[in-house]
């Protein structure tokens, strides 16, 4: 097909104008974070007359960003490891093992993608198990929440691997543990990447479940620094802006390098849903 220059140019211009809707709010945050209190309070897109890089220093210390970052890493890494580990084993089992009950099991997991969890009884249970308010409680709960999607995605992928692989391994004398860990698991790499992306992003950004489960502010994850900061410095916009940007930066940097994988991962995560 012939490429027409006119419409091509028009579309490009519209796309640029459209992306302003995304960029302008982010630019507001960036510019506002570098202003003096009086200027920042105007909430406008003007350039700062004095570039207050010191706002970041204040936020970094007062907002305890390092602590929040550390907590976010613990929660995210823990959830990803558990979801990928437990999820891949289950996906392998469900797509290989015969029997009606296996189908029911799949359905039970599938329902978890739709039904809203019941938070108040969850907290009660966690208190009884002495994991309420602990990282491990949050990690286990987030794992339970994202296991359904993990299993659905990974079992779709396992079905694409020929059964003959398992059979050949078994004939060669490999046990089921060896077959899974050494032969099947490495073959699941593409789906592991997909699952890692969406579980990591959801866990990193989680707010609702963390709000219910974690009450100790020492254990709050990075996004909570904003929450904490706004309640303390609600009207000092320059600090709020600087904090918002600091919270965004880690994920924006990752997005900059891995955007293709992140879009694919999050889309696959929802296509299967």
């Amino acid at each position: 097909m012939k490429r027409q220059l006119g419409p091509w140019l028009l579309r490009t211009v519209i796309a640029i104008l459209g992306s302003l809707i995304i960029v302008l709010p982010l630019l507001l945050v960036f510019l506002g974070s570098l202003k003096t209190p009086a200027e920042a309070a105007k909430l406008s897109l003007s350039l700062p007359t004095e570039w207050m890089w010191s706002n970041y220093k204040t936020v970094f210390i007062e907002g305890r960003l390092l602590n929040g970052f550390k907590n976010s890493v613990i929660v995210t890494v823990g959830t990803v490891i558990l979801a990928v580990g437990a999820g891949s084993m289950t996906a392998y089992f469900i797509s290989r093992r015969h029997g009606n009950w296996v189908q029911y099991l799949f359905f039970v997991f599938f329902a978890g993608m739709i039904a809203p969890p019941s938070m108040i009884p969850t907290i009660k249970l966690m208190q009884a198990l002495h994991i309420s308010g602990e990282f491990i409680g949050l990690i286990l709960f987030l794992t339970a929440l994202y296991l359904p999607l993990t299993i659905v995605i990974m079992s779709g992928f396992v079905k694409g691997l020929p059964r003959e692989i398992d059979e050949a391994a078994t004939i060669d004398g490999a046990g089921s543990f060896y077959t899974f860990t050494r032969i099947i698991f490495p073959l699941l790499k593409p789906s592991i990447a997909t699952v890692t992306v969406f579980v990591a992003i959801y866990a990193w950004n989680d707010f609702l479940n963390t709000l219910y489960i974690i009450s100790d502010s020492n254990k709050w994850t990075l996004p909570f620094s904003v929450y904490n900061f706004v309640s303390q410095y609600g009207t000092e916009w320059q600090f709020v802006f600087a904090d918002l940007l600091s919270v965004m930066v880690p994920i924006l940097i990752i997005y900059l390098f891995l955007q293709r994988y992140i879009i694919e991962g999050m889309t696959a995560g929802s296509v299967k849903g």
Binding site: T90, R96, F109, P117, M119, F207, Y212, V240
Partner: protein, 289 residues
């Protein structure tokens, strides 16, 4: 038997234990607690039958909250998918920097709802850039306190939700558009069809399963909405943006555990009914397309 030995049951043990203990058990026990007078201030939990539900359905509050939930979910579902389809069709046509724009429109999806929420409390502030913009293009009579006016706050938050998640619908539809065969489109062009005919007879029918998935996802997701609303309005002003999950969280905060759990059962059942009804409806739509 070899089959059982090859795929032993211990493979499902970790996932099943985590899922059963932290998801299935709380859900089932939630059904039980909703028939009790459970509260942190009482020593014992007593079975009281349907009293919590009588109180729920007897008060006007539940209907208002349900109405907010449905309005919010409907607006988000329609707009997010509408904008998503348009963006996808648009970015599937030839233009410069296509991948750049895809990444750009998808970007809000990776941000925390807290960040997006607070960002928009400043954008939609009475003195914020949105009102400045309206003033600059001569629409100063449209300026509002977008999140502070009870009549429009719910719509404003729905708009923020669409801002954040339209890119995810776009990515879904773009993935669907890749599935349309080039031969078929070229054949249609040779046959002298217009763009809208191709849209109606080639593109939309191929895309309809994706439409179903995307609509289901945004509907279920927005019925369970919490984070953006909690951050921007906290359910206010005057309860104008109070949806189910906000209501449940408030009951948790004030120690009305049984009542909050009963409200969660209502949400559970509503999401279930809506999902099944929507699935049936969309299947019929897919067959018609």
């Amino acid at each position: 038997m070899l089959h059982r030995k090859m795929y032993p049951v211990w493979l499902i043990a970790p996932a099943l234990i985590i899922y059963a203990v932290l998801y299935i058990y709380p859900t089932l026990s939630g059904f039980y607690y909703s028939f009790t007078d459970w509260s942190p201030y009482k020593e014992t939990i007593n079975f009281i039958g349907l009293d919590q539900f009588k109180e729920l359905f007897g008060s006007k509050a539940l209907y208002t909250i349900m109405k907010h939930t449905v309005i919010y979910a409907a607006i988000v579902t329609i707009l997010q998918n509408g904008v998503g389809v348009i963006l996808a069709l648009f970015l599937n046509a030839p233009l410069a920097g296509r991948n750049f724009f895809r990444s750009m429109y998808f970007l809000p999806c990776i941000l925390s709802a807290l960040v997006v929420g607070y960002m928009f409390t400043t954008v939609l502030h009475p003195d914020g850039i949105f009102n400045h913009l309206l003033g600059a293009i001569g629409l100063s009579s449209w300026e509002r306190d977008w999140l502070g006016d009870p009549k429009i706050a719910l719509y404003s938050v729905a708009f923020i939700n669409v801002w954040q998640w339209a890119g995810s619908s776009m990515a879904l539809y773009l993935a669907g558009l890749q599935g349309i065969s080039k031969d078929m489109l070229e054949a249609a062009v040779i046959d002298g069809t217009t763009y809208f005919q191709r849209l109606r007879y080639v593109i939309i029918p191929t895309l309809s399963p994706v439409v179903s998935t995307s609509v289901m996802l945004s509907m279920i997701g927005s019925m369970k909405a919490f984070e953006l609303i909690y951050v921007t309005t906290g359910g206010g002003p005057g309860g104008a943006t109070e949806v189910m999950n906000i209501h449940i969280y408030k009951q948790f905060g004030s120690g009305l555990y049984a009542y909050g759990t009963a409200a969660n059962v209502v949400l559970f059942v509503s999401v279930g009914i809506v999902s099944i009804a929507l699935m049936k409806l969309l299947q019929r739509g897919e067959n018609a397309a």
